[in-house]
């Protein structure tokens, strides 16, 4: 194993302790629940509470985006595993300012069950909690509502965070997040597995020199495995799934995210980005804003995903809206 950890059963707690110390200007752990990372500004008067969350191992997702004008809290599960209903509920208690809260997370069976139970608990207390599940991974299902959420989480969360920061009510925030989700499509490629700290072993097997197109951010198998191709070829193939899916068409304006799954150098990401930009240019799709780096990872997995979000004026404004968190800041 090539991981720097102590006892594998303590990784999440130790990470959270380190995180809240390192970024104490932004966040702290909720006093009643060590799995709820709360913004120092929350609850923000007059603002809908933005609660994101999911399994650990995708850092900086989710906890890295808690702060000013983005998420108010992140609920933290075990590795690759949804947080508990109790923690989802506690997050509501921690950030609700009387305007209700929005749960935002990737659409996985486990997360749905746990967050839904959390919402039920909140409802019993009379706090309104709505939910938007991110479903951006084009190759995870034919039915959009069955699709998983991957790096598109970042766009949907950013939009929701900005909308809430602008003072919108829960229905408006939810509508903006739903629009962002409806306009967002992603797909990835993995060149390696990730190391589960408990077993010290890869969470699935993958030969050096292979790649898997469509791999999920928990290592869920993709659409096909093959010998690794040149970056341009790989990008072409991924784009050939993403573009017709929405579809993105000539005249559209998009935000682009070329995301590292953990261990892909920025060098490689920018080589991939270059090809993404060339393809979009060819198709007459205009790039409004781009993000390149590790935004939603799978621990030490080598790989990359591409996300496009089709923009209108509202989404542009929300994407550009200033925010300040440990792992994402717009001035």
């Amino acid at each position: 194993m090539r991981r720097l950890i102590n006892d594998p059963y303590d990784v999440v707690e130790e990470m959270l302790e380190g995180f809240c110390k390192a970024h104490s200007k932004y966040v702290h752990l909720y006093e009643n629940d060590g799995r709820v990372v709360v913004s120092n500004l929350a609850p923000v008067k007059g603002k809908v509470g933005i609660i994101i969350g999911g399994g650990s191992g995708h850092e900086p997702l989710f906890l890295g985006y808690v702060g000013e004008n983005f998420a108010d809290a992140a609920v933290i599960g075990n590795i690759n595993t949804s947080p508990s209903p109790e923690s989802c509920y506690n997050a509501v208690k921690a950030v609700d300012a009387g305007k209700g809260c929005l749960y935002l997370y990737g659409n996985y069976a486990g997360d749905v069950m746990n967050f839904d139970m959390g919402a039920e608990m909140a409802a019993e207390e009379g706090i309104r909690v709505e939910t938007v599940r991110v479903t951006d991974d084009v190759c995870s299902s034919k039915n959009i509502e069955d699709r998983r959420g991957v790096a598109g989480d970042f766009f949907v969360f950013k939009v929701a965070g900005a909308k809430a920061a602008m003072g919108a009510d829960l229905d408006e925030v939810k509508a903006a997040a739903e629009k962002a989700n409806a306009n967002t499509r992603s797909m990835g490629v993995a060149l390696s597995s990730a190391t589960h700290p408990a077993t010290g072993k890869p969470i699935f097997e993958m030969e050096e020199g292979d790649m898997e197109i469509g791999m999920g951010i928990h290592g869920e198998p993709g659409v096909r495995r093959d010998k690794l191709q040149k970056a341009d070829k790989v990008v072409e193939e991924i784009m050939s799934y993403i573009i017709p899916d929405l579809p993105f068409i000539t005249g559209d304006e998009v935000a682009v995210l070329v995301n590292s799954l953990g261990s892909t150098p920025l060098m490689d990401l920018h080589i991939c980005y270059r090809k993404v930009a060339m393809i979009l240019e060819e198709k007459g799709i205009k790039i409004y804003r781009s993000f390149v780096g590790p935004y939603a990872t799978t621990m030490d997995m080598i790989g990359m995903s591409i996300t496009l979000m089709k923009l209108d004026d509202e989404l542009k404004q929300l994407l550009d809206y200033p925010c300040s968190t440990p792992y994402f800041t717009i001035k």
Partner: protein, 213 residues
């Protein structure tokens, strides 16, 4: 016959202890199963939960079965998370509720506990048999258990039918395409692999069987 067959608290505590040990022993096996078709953590997830159960079991032992299994379930719910946390969590909570705060149950009540627990899994997960989940083991198992009881089999024999059918059900997941959980989107590629949740369900049932005299 079934009214006289009493399962006391000692029995249930031993079963829980056995489950704790089994999950620890089989952690890597279950995780390997999940590697093939899921995200490679099922054994680790359960071990996080049952390690916590182990830590606290002593403190719960004096209470009734409903209390004990509520605690077991709540622990899984809060420490495991994921898909298996709420599913097994709900299972144990409802399993205990059906014991109606007693300290021991007869065999008919014992059946009702499983029925309630498995229904909770169905309710939470909304899965159906044939979707390559733990239900593929538990549902046919429960049906066989019910049949056995209706046919007046000896208690232990009846429970053997439960485990047998659950095992067969688990194996039936091997050729299946998954329709729920993470394996869902695997399509054809899930074929040929045993569902990890079905495998852990069988282990849990075996702990119940093993301690039955």
């Amino acid at each position: 016959m079934y009214d006289d067959f009493i399962l006391d608290k000692d029995y249930f505590i031993k079963v829980v202890e056995d489950i704790i040990n089994l999950i620890e022993e089989q952690r890597d096996y279950l995780t390997d199963l999940d590697s093939a078709i899921g995200d490679g953590d099922h054994g680790f997830n359960l071990s996080i939960g049952f390690r916590e159960v182990k830590k606290n079991l002593k403190d719960w032992q004096d209470k009734d079965l409903t209390f004990i299994f509520k605690k077991v379930g709540m622990t899984l719910l809060s420490k495991v998370g994921g898909a298996s946390g709420p599913l097994y969590g709900s299972f144990f909570i409802k399993f205990g509720e059906a014991a109606q705060t007693k300290n021991e149950v007869n065999f008919k009540e014992f059946y009702n506990m499983f029925k309630a627990g498995i229904e909770a899994i169905e309710f939470r997960g909304k899965a159906k048999v044939g979707e390559k989940t733990m239900l593929d083991a538990l549902k046919p198992g429960l049906d066989a258990f019910k049949d056995a009881i209706e046919n007046d089999l000896e208690p232990k024999q009846a429970f053997e039918k439960f485990v047998e059918a659950a095992k067969k059900g688990a194996e039936s997941t091997i050729p299946l395409v998954a329709k729920k959980g993470r394996a869902m989107r695997l399509g054809e590629r899930a074929i040929g692999h045993l569902d990890p949740g079905a495998a852990s369900s069988v282990m849990i049932l075996e702990a119940f069987l093993k301690n039955m005299t």
